[in-house]
């Protein structure tokens, strides 16, 4: 069976763990996120006719003090950048993370997840920034860990890109 390591990255509190939890049945405690800085989950899906196992590394969020451990991203076949739609600054964090990953790991498939779509009326993300990213070729999904909107689709799409 094909396996792919997928990292879920983003600023603190953007809903990475909630997204993963929405997508998979977690086994390990969330306490790992605060102790080791990562929690690993698994989801098997089908791309075409081939089953693919996504090993999801939910990496603790980045802030000014605590940068993401790039060691955890090493070996990833793709990654999600998660942004909190209600906090404009998390988009900048995502952009910074993407630059770092590209620099240190290389150009691998990734998705930008604009999370908390259920609170879209409170979004602060500048539309022109989103459009600029789309023009730059970023794949963007508007997701909601609360309602599950577009979550499955985002994972499916990333899997497809990684296998291709």
């Amino acid at each position: 069976m094909l396996q792919k390591k997928v990292c879920v990255l983003g600023a603190f509190g953007v809903g990475k763990t909630s997204l993963v939890r929405r997508y998979v049945q977690s086994i390990f405690s969330d306490a790992y996120l605060t102790t080791v800085g990562v929690k690993v989950d698994k989801k098997t899906l089908t791309v075409g006719t081939e089953p693919v196992t996504l090993v999801l590394w939910d990496v603790a969020g980045e802030d000014d003090v605590n940068a993401i451990r790039m060691t955890y991203v090493r070996g990833a076949a793709g990654y999600f950048l998660v942004v909190d739609g209600t906090r404009a600054e998390t988009l900048e964090v995502a952009r910074r993370i993407q630059e770092r990953v590209t620099k240190e790991i290389g150009p691998i498939p990734f998705m930008l997840l604009l999370n908390k779509a259920d609170l879209q009326e409170n979004w602060e993300l500048p539309t022109q920034s989103i459009e600029a990213l789309e023009r730059a070729g970023w794949a963007i999904f508007r997701t909601s860990a609360k309602t599950g909107d577009s979550v499955e689709e985002a994972f499916q799409e990333l899997a497809k890109r990684m296998v291709a």
Binding site: L2, Q3, K5, I27, V36, V40, V55, Y72, G75
Partner: protein, 622 residues
């Protein structure tokens, strides 16, 4: 080489014939050759060569001209060592790589040469090889020493842990018998382990390459476990490794209760074994060997691993060799029935010993109680013929040993007494003796004064009892307590005294020479009988009896012997007459005084008449 010779000949013939003709001849010859190759039968009918036809030669020359030039260059390169070395050096690395990835032949072929080269290098200058190996030897030696020390410490720990236990003593005995060291025996018994899971994990991605588990071993999803293990390894490496990005410095060993995690790292993958119990340090070698073989055989696929496990082939068989276990040797079980007999014997022995101890304790208590009794002297107590024999001296008035035995919880059949009678001088026994012999009046109390070894009698007692007590005291053996009767008050009953005096005042008169009382004496005899009867009753009421001595008298006339007979007859007659009046004859005794005890000493008729009489004397007795 026929081609070369042909080419040379063609070149020489070209000079003799026009070029067109030579080429045509060459072409014709080639066509003939082709025809012969296609159909073997033509070889027999067609000539082998069209000698002298220059056209064929020309054709051949045209066709082979470029090849010939290339061949010439190649031959020049082969013949020139410098050019040949340059050509080989350009492809040598790739050739080694290909040959190495294809099979083990290259390694096998190169090994002797490498060994010889290494030996030559060492002979020439050992420092070169030392310099090469130094960066590797340091960590390798450190790791080896650490593992050896771990093994030694593990053995020492186990040895210390079990040194002073019962099991430790058994193992010491086993070590002594087998000639092994104690630590070896301890390790043999304590190295009990079971490898429950083995994970082969891709180092770069943390993806699970393969997982094998012992039967019934529980675990979370192996993919997630391998991911978390990698994360933790990375975390530890990042946090504590001195060099950022270093590939070493992860977790080698981690223990959680009975579970032990051992990791062995290789260049592309690492093995993680989850072990329950205490594995021997040599199990590291098993893991390391397995990992080395996997890297050796799958180096390329591991390096290029992109998540597709199928490229690695079947790894399960390789990993299953790591699923080792060592169980504690089952001790030979003994049938419960074989335990029953010795157990019953032990229980019986214990019960017997308990019963014997209890019995001995009770006999001791019984003997102590006997020793505390006045008038009892225990001289021996021993167990003989299944019974206890208690022997000694016992005053008949002392406590009865049989009664004491009944109160001692000892069966009368278990204790045999051997008692010799003796007279005890213990004051308590003497008091008992006085009581049983003298039957003291109720008013009399007998007190023991231990200090002066004296028995004091207090209260009121009749004279006759006092006299008897005094007689008994005088008859006691030397060393007996002194009996003090001085505090007793002598009491006399007035009725008794009156009756006694009245009886003793009676004088029964007789005529001269007559043995029977004279006329008118019947009334006096009646009075004596009546008073004597009352006296007997009064004396009995006072606790004693009386006796009456009847003394016969005679006057001084006549012969002395006759007077004695006559006085005896007079006393007997009076006794008969009193018996006839109801007096018990055993209370009456007679005595003959003759003329020897005259009531009146004179010889007048009146005095003689008084001396012809019978008198009464009252005495008391028990």
């Amino acid at each position: 080489m026929p081609g070369l010779s042909l080419a040379a000949r063609d070149a020489s013939s070209t000079a003799e014939t026009p070029p067109e003709a030579a080429r045509a001849r060459q072409l014709a010859a080639l066509l003939l050759e082709v025809a012969r190759c296609v159909d073997k039968d033509l070889a027999s009918v067609l000539p082998s060569r069209l000698d002298g036809d220059p056209r064929l030669e020309a054709v051949r020359s045209v066709l082979l001209e470029q090849d010939r030039a290339a061949f010439d260059r190649l031959q020049q390169k082969v013949n020139d060592p410098q050019q040949l070395a340059e050509a080989i050096s350009a492809v040598l690395a790739r050739a080694f790589d290909l040959a190495g990835s294809r099979d083990e032949q290259l390694a096998t072929v190169l090994a002797p040469t490498m060994e010889r080269a290494t030996q030559a290098s060492i002979r020439r200058d050992p420092n070169v090889l030392v310099g090469i190996l130094y960066p590797l030897m340091g960590p390798a030696i450190s790791k080896s020493i650490a593992e050896t020390l771990d093994g030694t410490l593990h053995g020492l720990n186990q040895a210390f842990k079990h040194s002073f236990s019962w099991r430790g003593l058994k193992w010491r005995l086993e070590a002594y018998r087998s000639g092994s060291t104690f630590a070896d025996v301890v390790l043999k018994h304590t190295v009990v382990f079971r490898v429950e899971h083995v994970f082969l994990i891709h180092r770069k991605t943390g993806l699970l390459l393969e997982h094998v588990a012992a039967p019934q071993a529980a675990s979370q999803d192996p993919h997630m476990v391998s991911g978390m293990l990698t994360a933790i390894q990375d975390f530890v490496r990042d946090s504590f490794s001195p060099e950022k990005g270093s590939s070493g410095g992860g977790i080698d060993s981690l223990r959680l209760g009975e579970l032990l995690l051992w990791c062995e790292e290789g260049p592309s993958a690492f093995l993680a074994a989850v072990i329950r119990g205490n594995p021997p340090e040599t199990f590291h070698t098993v893991l390391r060997g397995t990992l080395a073989r996997i890297h050796e055989e799958l180096r390329g696929p591991l390096d290029e691993f992109n998540g597709d496990s199928a490229t690695l082939g079947d790894l399960v068989a390789r990993l299953e060799g790591c699923l080792q276990q060592q169980e504690q040797p089952q001790e030979k079980r003994i049938s419960p029935w074989l335990w029953a007999l010795p157990l019953a014997l032990v229980l019986a022995l214990a019960s017997w010993m308990v019963l014997r101890t209890v019995e001995a304790y009770r006999v001791e208590a019984y003997v102590q109680e006997l020793r505390g009794q006045p008038g009892v002297v225990v001289t021996g107590a021993e167990r003989r013929d299944g019974k206890w024999h208690v022997s000694g001296l016992r005053d008949p008035l002392a406590a009865d040993p049989a009664e004491l035995l009944a109160n001692s919880n000892l069966g009368p059949e278990r204790v045999v007494g051997h008692w010799e009678p003796y007279q005890a001088l213990n004051p308590a026994i003497v008091v008992r003796r006085i009581r049983s012999t003298l039957n003291p009046p109720p008013d009399v109390a007998l007190l023991i004064d231990g200090k002066s070894n004296t028995i004091r009698a207090l209260g009121n007692a009749p004279q006759h009892w006092v006299e008897k007590a005094r007689a008994l005291a005088a008859a006691l053996p030397a060393g007996s307590p002194r009996i003090d009767l001085s505090a007793l008050k002598d009491i006399q009953d007035p009725t008794f005294i009156r009756l006694r005096n009245a009886i003793q005042a009676h004088i029964i008169s007789f005529d001269s020479g007559a043995p029977r009382p004279g006329p008118g004496q019947e009334a006096a005899l009646d009075a004596v009988a009546s008073e004597l009867g009352e006296l007997i009753r009064v004396a009995r009421g006072l606790g004693f009896s009386v006796r009456v001595m009847i003394t016969g008298h005679a006057d001084s006339t006549g012969k002395e012997t006759s007077n004695l007979s006559l006085s005896a007859a007079r006393a007997e007659v009076v006794r008969s007459m009193l018996r006839a009046r109801g007096i018990a004859p055993d209370l009456l005794s007679v005595r003959s005084a003759g003329a020897l005890e005259p009531l009146r000493p004179g010889a007048s008729e009146q005095e003689q008449a008084i001396n012809r009489s019978v008198t009464f004397t009252v005495s008391t007795s028990d």
